[in-house]
Amino acid sequence: MASDTIRVRATADAEGVTTLQLLMSHEMETGRRRGPDGDLIPAHFIQEVTCEHNGQVVATAYFSGGVSRNPYLSLKFTGAKQGDSIRVSWTDNQGYDDSAEATIR
């Protein structure tokens, strides 16, 4: 499934380790920054990123607003092979979410 906010790349190597690389588009506002009007910009950041392989959660990442804007995340796991599909999803502190699927290459 295509996603507007997530770019996924997953590659499996000869040893059976899959490397997952994600690029998410998100403001990642900490809630400490002030806008041009001098008011605090409300916190708005991804809190949770979940990676699933065959319906099993392989990793969950928890973020604070201290992760850079447009977060990059790379993880590795075993037990998957080329052609398998993986699913990645995020949710943020304002209740927005998105998910994407990709095939391991």
Partner: protein
């Protein structure tokens, strides 16, 4: 007779439908790794309190078995690449902590039995200071520390 059978079928269909729906909206998600976002840990301004809230412990061993890759100098504190790796056995979590940030706990990754001790991301740093990589392996915390000199702070 016919009617009875139909009722049973209908009931069955309803039950299956119910489970399917529950799965679709995430009620029957695999629970093990889906704990809620650890709010207290992330809101804490104190690293000991943050670690206690996140992992139930705050004592760690400085260890060569954990390696942390960060730039020595970051011109832009808003984007500091961090890679944390470890070959320790039975790793459950890998966390990135910046004690000099207003909220020191930046990110924490929980991995399942198939997870490899590897996390790479980009973080914000308010000022020059240490980055800590903390790995939970067999119930013990192991830590690596590297200093990053920040030219322009990135928390503002």
């Amino acid at each position: 007779m016919m009617n009875e059978r139909r009722r049973v079928l209908l009931k069955g269909a309803f039950l299956t439908g119910g489970t399917g729906l529950a799965m679709a909206i995430g009620l029957v998600a695999p629970k093990a790794l889906l704990a809620a976002w650890p709010e207290k840990a992330f809101r804490s301004s104190d690293i000991v309190e943050a670690l206690n809230n996140l992992l139930g412990a705050s004592e760690y061993l400085e260890s060569d078995a954990v390696s942390l890759n960060v730039p020595a100098i970051a011109e832009n504190g808003a984007v500091v690449p961090v890679t944390l790796t470890s070959n320790l056995p039975n790793i459950r979590t890998l966390s990135i902590v910046v004690p000099t940030n207003p909220a020191p706990l930046v990110a924490s990754v929980s991995i399942g039995p198939n997870g490899v001790g590897f996390v790479s991301t980009r973080i914000k740093m308010e000022s020059t200071g240490d980055v800590l990589g903390i790995v939970e392996s067999d119930g013990q915390l192991y830590m690596a520390r590297e200093e990053v000199r920040v030219t322009v702070g990135g928390c503002g």
